[in-house]
């Protein structure tokens, strides 16, 4: 019996519909195996509206164009950044979709003062957005106009110095200066960059120390007198000299390094995802659009410098060592 191949109208429509569905679904199926499939959640351990917020928005505005998804920030200020890290390590799923955006300098110093509830090796910083040295500055109307004025005044009384938080590279820079010159300074933690600038401008403190990026953003309301590192931006920091040049010191650079971090477990479990993140992060740094966005957000072009996992981890280790050395002075212990 010969079977005559026939196709009914119903079968034709059914086959057509299946083929159409498969065709339409193909990109989706392919997408399902790609990364990223959804938006990233970024945990920021400081308040919105500050320097971290500015930098994050500038960088992610360009990075997202390479990844095709958004970066959704959540701000968790409190306890000198400790809250944000604890929430990230304790509650965020280690799946490479949850990232951290922190400041290696002051935030790692925290761990030297008081260990967190998690193992600090359970997260890594994988990409540096920018790096700026800390500096010493006065309010535009301060009677202290030069470093000589500060030194002369410090010989007559203990000067009050605003800092973002006790455990901060800028605080260490100041303490090192005090050691060198035989002067004592009284550090007043003014809870964040905005408060530290305000303290110097309004005279709440005699002067302040802070990351230079935030000081530059404060404009002509402040004047920088000394940089705890190299002044690579010249006039933007009022041509202030480096502490090592001015006082014949050998202090390592006191840096504020804003970087993205990730769970170590996510790196181990999803190496392919981590590769996408690190590769696109580096590509973003090479994109001229990033420089435009960074300058638009009041960033200094010289500070926008790429660094990868190794450099970031080296800095993390250096901060832990520095923190251990100055622990007694910074923790009140």
């Amino acid at each position: 019996m010969s079977m005559k191949p026939t196709i009914t109208r119903r079968a034709l429509l059914g086959t057509g519909a299946a083929a159409a569905t498969l065709t339409l679904a193909t990109p989706g199926l392919l997408r399902a195996s790609s990364f990223p499939e959804r938006n990233f959640s970024v945990y920021i351990p400081t308040a919105e509206g500050g320097g971290a917020d500015r930098n994050f928005r500038a960088f992610s505005s360009v990075w997202k164009t390479r990844l095709g998804v958004e970066f959704e920030p959540s701000f968790y200020p409190g306890a000198s950044g400790r809250v944000g890290y604890e929430i990230y390590m304790g509650k965020a799923e280690p799946d490479a979709y949850n990232l951290l955006f922190g400041n290696i300098g002051p935030e790692v110093l925290n761990w030297a003062m008081q260990a967190p509830s998690f193992d600090i090796n359970d997260y890594i910083y994988f990409g540096q957005v920018d790096k700026d040295p800390c500096c010493l500055f006065v309010g535009a109307e301060s009677p202290l106009k030069t470093m000589d004025d500060i030194i002369a005044a410090a010989k007559t009384r203990k000067l009050n110095v605003g800092t973002s938080r006790m455990a901060h590279p800028a605080s260490i820079g100041l303490l090192a200066l005090g050691d060198k010159l035989g002067l004592e300074f009284n550090l007043i933690p003014l809870q964040g960059g905005k408060g530290t600038v305000a303290g110097a401008v309004t005279g709440e403190v005699d002067f302040s120390v802070l990351t230079s990026g935030s000081v530059i953003a404060a404009g002509d309301a402040v004047k920088t007198l000394l940089v705890f590192g190299n002044n690579i931006v010249g006039e933007a920091l009022d041509n202030a000299p480096s502490i090592n040049d001015a006082y014949d010191m050998d202090l390592p650079e006191m840096l504020s390094t804003r970087a993205f971090g990730i769970h170590k477990k996510a790196v181990d479990d999803y190496p392919d995802r981590f590769e996408v993140l690190t590769r696109t992060f580096k590509e973003t740094h090479e994109d001229p659009a990033l420089m435009e966005a960074y300058i638009a957000s009041k960033g200094q072009p010289e500070y926008l410098v790429y660094a990868g996992v190794e450099e970031c981890e080296a800095e993390k280790a250096a901060m832990l060592e520095l923190g251990a050395r100055y622990k007694s002075l910074l923790s009140g212990a």
Binding site: E48, G49, E86, N186, V201, T202, G203, S331
Partner: protein, 504 residues
């Protein structure tokens, strides 16, 4: 003011009026987000940041300012009608606003609040514009020592509340201060009283405490009644007469509006100080110098005018340090700074030289927003007051669910919802046993601020307590503080003595 400045102001004013199509919808958006606990102008601007950044500078500026003003006013609406202050800045509003609503005067209370807010906001905007260079100097004199005294002005309200029952009032106040001390200390970030909860490291979050103590506890109380309005207060059909009566009451107390809004303005220009401090200090001052202090807390219009004028005065005040010094006075101003910097605006002393239309434009946007708010919102009081006549079997669950969501929103922690419930139970017990929840709340809100300024002062003086009396302005404030405590007592005694003298 020279002729060029006057011409810039005129030009900017008319230009801002042309943005009515942004201002009016934003006012309604602001009222909604201000009225929902947990939402605020700050987090709304953050949520809508992509939109704000996409707009041109002037449109973005007008949008943010209108939202800021409207949200401030919106926070007072649920505070008055259902005892839910939408933000910490409205925490003093229900003290007299809600009793008015319970007496069936919700519509008048809303009208009073709107008039006080609009006039207070508009007036302080004009003062800020005219006296910007002088106001910008306030922050140069108000340091931590002086701020301690300002805090004490607000905290002394506990004693006023305690006057009805001194022991219970003081217990409630101290409990609030103790709760306020939970969290990490401001110097070394050492956790205290957190019971191991990470969620408490940054202190007791204000919104869950606020909605718990006021709203959730109130929901537990009103469920025992049929409607919010008391049996002796008639829930009547809304009418224009009540709105006009509210307007009349507020306008007849214009001196009070002026005085308390200036308190808000002065506190607003101090970086870091906020609307919560201003509204409590204004309420305390208003009560201290009132001829009828005993009426405060019972639905007294002046007790409603003071915090509402003051917190709107703060709104214009926070712009001064932002524009003149480049220092944001509060959270919303800080976010505005980010947006404006994205558009290439440099704040600080040079702003009015380089981009005067931006600087003046922000104040003009504020002034125009207040004018539009007055015209658009006032008629709505007639309809909003309907809320107080909704049967409590529907209203109470709505309040509880609404406020728990509000408790969750700012930080998105489930913990905060449980905390709001816990504060609700605490508030309910306090109400049922005659302890005043406002006294607890003042401690929770102002306690951490007092501690911060106190520790900074001590740190600056190496622990010398005499630092509290080390500044001239501080000492003047101490005297004023002492007078504000003593004089009302003297006046009160005099009045009593007069009453005791039989009429001849």
């Amino acid at each position: 003011m020279d002729s060029s400045t006057a011409s810039i102001l005129t030009e900017v004013f008319f230009e801002t009026l042309g943005y009515w199509y942004i201002i009016i919808p934003t006012i309604f958006l602001g009222l909604i987000v201000g009225g929902i606990p947990g939402f605020s102008a700050a987090n709304t601007i953050i949520i809508l940041m992509p939109l704000t950044l996409a707009l041109d500078l002037q449109s973005g500026l007008v949008f943010m300012i209108s939202l800021y003003c409207a949200a401030r006013m919106g926070a007072g609406i649920p505070a008055i009608l259902v005892n839910i202050p939408g933000t910490a800045g409205a925490a003093a509003t229900p003290l007299d606003g809600y009793p008015m609503a319970k007496q069936g005067k919700g519509q008048q209370a809303l009208a009073i609040s709107f008039v006080a807010s609009c006039i207070g906001g508009l007036l302080t905007t004009i003062i800020a514009l005219a006296a910007m260079p002088i106001l910008a100097r306030v922050g140069f004199y108000m340091h931590s020592v002086e701020m301690i005294v300002v805090m004490l002005f607000g905290i002394s309200l506990i004693a006023s509340i305690a006057a009805q029952d001194m022991v219970k009032g003081l217990i409630a106040g101290f409990l609030g201060l103790m709760i306020g001390s939970i969290g990490t200390d401001v110097v070394y970030a050492t956790p205290r009283g957190t019971f191991g909860f990470l969620e408490l490291y940054d202190g007791v979050p204000l919104i869950p405490a606020l909605v718990g103590l006021f709203a959730v506890s109130e929901a537990f109380v009103i469920i025992e009644k049929r409607v919010i309005v008391n049996h002796d207060g008639e829930p009547k059909a809304p009418n224009w007469g009540d709105t006009f009566e509210g307007v009349k009451i507020a306008l007849s107390r214009w001196v009070h509006i002026v005085w308390t809004s200036i308190i808000g303005l002065v506190i607003g220009v101090i970086p870091g100080a906020g609307a919560s401090i201003a509204s409590f200090v204004a309420y305390q001052q208003s009560r201290s110098f009132s001829k009828t202090p005993e009426k405060y807390g019972t639905g007294h219009p002046e007790g409603l005018i003071a915090p509402e004028s003051a917190n709107n005065g703060v709104t214009s005040g926070t712009l001064v340090p932002l524009l003149v010094l480049g220092i944001p006075g509060g959270a919303t101003a800080a976010i505005m700074l980010v947006v404006m910097q994205f558009h290439g605006v440099s704040f600080g002393p040079s702003l009015f030289e380089n981009q005067p239309t931006v600087g003046y434009g922000m104040f003009m946007a504020m002034a125009v927003s207040y004018v539009f708010m007055f015209l658009t919102i006032l008629p709505l009081s007639r309809y909003m007051s309907h809320v107080t006549t909704i049967p409590t079997i529907y209203l109470a669950p709505m309040i509880i669910s609404f406020t728990l969501v509000g408790g969750f929103v700012p930080r998105e922690y489930m913990f905060d919802m449980y905390l709001a419930l816990a504060f609700g139970v605490l508030g309910y017990i306090a109400r049922r046993t005659g302890y005043h929840v406002a006294a607890i709340l003042i401690g929770v809100i102002l306690g951490p601020l007092l501690e911060k300024y106190f520790l900074w002062s001590l740190k600056k003086s190496d622990g010398d307590i005499m630092v509290l009396f080390s500044s001239t302005l501080g000492n003047i404030l101490w005297v004023a503080f002492a007078l504000s405590i003593i004089l009302p007592m003297v006046f009160s005694m005099r009045r009593k003595r007069k009453l005791e003298v039989p009429a001849e």
